[in-house]
Symmetry: C2
Subunit: 530 residues, 2 copies
């Protein structure tokens, strides 16, 4: 009968299903191609953002990067489009702003007052420049309305300069942040990561996570001053936010809405601290972003038996005061290694044969070469992670920002040495170079640290791209956002609840004491009456 | 000349290197095969541990699992060895201990006092059983010294019962913990994760992360009671620890030395909270641990057009009081779906045609089948994650432990409904089944949650194996361990520093006031003299 046939058929389908291997679970998300807006920061901050933008584009997403007409190093790429916006300054002014970093190096030859003045003028020039650039972007109405029409899925930005975060809020888009950290801990505060000053060392203190009472006191004081520092750093941006968004909302509140925080941080160097589930650690993001080395350097400079030393002081410092340069050259003259020096200033006379000046160096590719013996660096986070990735011992000359802390972290692991560039001598440099190159302990420690740093389940660039796509797929990551945002300080620390409980206990104790007194008095009276 | 030739040769080597593609960075760790000791817990806790043990063995590591001779479900596997130890009880006693769970279900027909008695006797019987098993393992000297000679690299364990953690300490081995969580938050406390009661809801409260003042007060009270609960839960194990280790160290301190915490937790369900870097989230670890379904079930029970309902109440409850069973059967008789019911008790009379009793069900494989329409569950964490993984809406009947909280979490996302099994009626069950099966909102919400749950960079089982191997490769994960362990409560909350700062401010204010008073008095006198 047809019925029976049907049954047989269904049964054989069953049998086939039963015999079949288990159907693969769809853990891997379906192919999704989206539309990403990128608002980057200049200088070394550009490196990681560019890496993500390129990789997102390579995977088929539409990626639009918004950059000013004039910049230090931001520019077009293979896999993303750029949209430029006009700025009211020219390249000469940009060079002038960048040159301030050199002035600060003249510490030893200047008076204390001159130093303070140089530092102050440096900060004012740079912040003025940052604000001008941000306003040129945010108040470019035609650009902003053009961006509003592009149906972006998300914004990738470095919130240290919160222009991208403000655009995201205006356009109602979720934000992915990539950053090293904000000095006043605004990143941790906005993401909701508790930072107990008892074991989370603060910026600039150079402390580790184990502190004695004095250190904890200083650390707590710095922690208490952080909100003030945040105010100072962002008061002008708060004004920009009011004007741009047309609502009474500041930078801190805008940042606390971020979907994902990609932090260029790694516990091989940093000290363990609490983080929230939307904080993803991607320290070493550009370790595997590599290009072949130019043949000319490779053959003339890297193939010697003694290897070579890489020397860069970052994007911001491209040349040095003459007196420092000559001290350094004198030391380099006395070592057998070749020295590749990133230097854009006037090439001095009498350069030793083993020193090569280059206006730009492929730093990560050089460090990845097996001949790299030492890395002389300002201990900026990118250089630090690149040296760590390729296990090259370091001689560190921190200049400012997070660099002194970075240098201290690595030095405390005995994988490098710290020198003060403003008081450097040929002897101290020679001594330092000799130690990191010839004392095998530095190399050994560096190798162990490097192995630990690289032993993680997902490459940091892939992880960054993954979470960027995750946010685009799900239109945010609301399920990862902490509820503490809605609480004021009293509520957050449960001080209101503690006050209530303390009051209840106090009232109870008072009543108890009164009752006891009454009781004792009564008993006393009774006894008297007896 | 030979020299020139040499040069040419070296240059051509260089050229070859330059032309070459970039050498691959060794991000992937080198092949490492180690030796892992596994000390599991019984019941549903066994599922995740077994999955990791099997996968570690499959990858070529030597895996030794230590289990008691008599257990509910622990046993041998394909890829690991088992070592059994004798216990002073038999299978009948084990069944007797497990049977207590059934008594607790008779709530509606018992008085309050009877309920409390049942609950108390349940707890006493189970804890007595746990302590006996632990002592049989730890004080089996020949077994412990046998284990000490095996050169293990690490211990994988569920620290809810800390036998494995104590063995790890005795043998000087790093520990990987896999667990759902410890009710008194000892896991979070030991790992160093801050748990502000203002937005981290406590066990048993059923609160979300957004709480009003009353809820925050209750939550804070529960938080304040947690240390007491930990004492109660672990005081006997503290005694065992002293005896076994021969040092004055308790369970809390032993656990705080753990290398990695694999938490079966996921922020699709849980609320965002701070975690430390050695806490790895692996909720849904057994989602992809799958086997083909037996042909006999597949064809007779799963192929109907109306699909089927899976009904299990976990390892601990295998049969039910008769009055509840008949209520449930009456409801199942009235639905078109087939019902697969895990049930080991006496099969009742008059079982409807669409109900199949099975003494064991391949729960995850059944839920993965496209015919699964609903999952009636006690809302244990494994079942919850399996239902979530395969997007099956749930009807939840929590019995105890973390189950009421689990059920509330899922119900608050409108992906399931909660019923009280002790007061259940045929109508309420029918209503519930009708809602989760026929109201598409539940299925839709479940699908969204499921997609979010599965959208993560690494499969949780692979991630667990990765971190287990990481600990074995590096002989621990010391760089991830928090420094707060060494601090007492006053220091941790910086109360000593705050007291000092407050004193300084107070002294300063007092001095200022005194000076002002003196000054005013002097001025006053002068005026008088004038």
């Amino acid at each position: 009968t047809p019925r029976e046939e049907n049954n047989v058929e269904s049964s054989s389908v069953c049998a086939a299903e039963a015999a079949n291997t288990i159907p693969a679970s769809d853990t891997a998300p379906a192919g999704f191609l989206g539309n990403l807006l990128v608002v980057p920061m200049d200088g070394s901050h550009w490196v990681g953002i560019k890496a993500i933008a390129e990789e997102m584009g390579r995977r088929g997403h539409k990626v639009t990067v918004v950059i000013p007409e004039i910049s230090v190093r931001m520019g077009p790429g293979k896999h993303y489009e750029t949209v430029t916006f006009p700025v009211p300054y020219d390249k000469a002014h940009l060079d002038f702003v960048m040159a301030v970093h050199k002035d600060v190096l003249r510490k030893s030859t200047q008076s204390f007052i001159q130093n303070i003045k140089a530092k102050y003028s440096q900060i004012m020039r740079i912040t003025g420049f940052i604000h001008t650039t941000a306003e040129s972007l945010l108040f470019n109405d035609s650009l902003i309305s053009h961006l509003a029409q592009q149906n972006f899925d998300a914004v990738l930005t470095d919130p240290m300069i919160p222009s991208g975060s403000l655009i995201a809020r205006k356009l109602g888009l979720p934000t992915i942040n990539l950053l090293r950290g904000i000095p006043c801990s605004l990143d941790m505060k906005s993401a909701g990561c508790p930072s107990p000053p008892s074991y989370v060392p603060r910026f600039l203190t150079k402390y580790s996570h184990v502190m004695n009472f004095k250190e904890r006191t200083v650390n707590t004081l710095v922690a208490l001053l952080e909100p003030l520092l945040c105010r100072l750093m962002y008061w002008y941006f708060d004004q920009i936010a009011y004007r741009f968004l047309g609502e009474e909302v500041g930078v801190a509140e805008v940042l606390s809405e971020s979907a994902i925080w990609l932090l260029r941080m790694d516990f091989t160097l940093e000290f363990p601290r609490p983080i929230m589930p939307n904080v993803v650690l991607v320290g070493g993001i550009n370790c595997n972003v590599r290009n072949p080395l130019p043949e000319v350097i490779l053959c003339s400079w890297l193939s010697g038996e003694h290897g070579f030393v890489v020397f860069t002081l970052g994007t911001m410092v491209s040349d040095l005061p003459e007196e420092i340069t000559s001290v350094l050259l004198e030391a380099f003259r006395q070592i057998p290694q070749k020295v590749i020096w990133r230097y854009t200033g006037k090439v001095p006379d009498r350069v030793p044969e083993n020193v090569k000046f280059m206006t730009w160096v492929p730093q990560n590719d050089l460090l990845a070469h097996s001949g790299a013996r030492a890395f002389i660096t300002h201990a900026g986070s990118h250089g630090l992670f690149e040296g760590l990735c390729h296990a090259v011992p370091m001689l560190m000359m921190p200049l400012g920002g997070d660099q002194p802390d970075n240098a201290e972290r690595l030095a405390s692991r005995n994988a490098g040495l710290v020198l003060d560039i403003t008081t450097i001598s040929t002897e101290s440099l020679l001594q330092g170079l000799n130690a990191v190159i010839n004392d095998t302990r530095y190399k050994e420690n560096m190798k162990k640290l490097s192995a630990l740093h690289k032993d993680r389940p997902v490459d940091p660039l892939d992880l960054s791209v993954y979470w960027t796509e995750h946010v685009m797929r799900h239109k945010g990551a609301k399920h990862l956002r902490w509820a503490g945002r809605g609480l004021n300080v009293l509520q957050y620390f449960s001080l209101d609840v503690i006050a209530l409980l303390a009051t209840v206990v106090l009232v109870f104790v008072i009543l108890l004491v009164k009752c006891l007194k009454l009781f004792i008095r009564k008993v006393g009276r009774k006894r008297k009456q007896e």
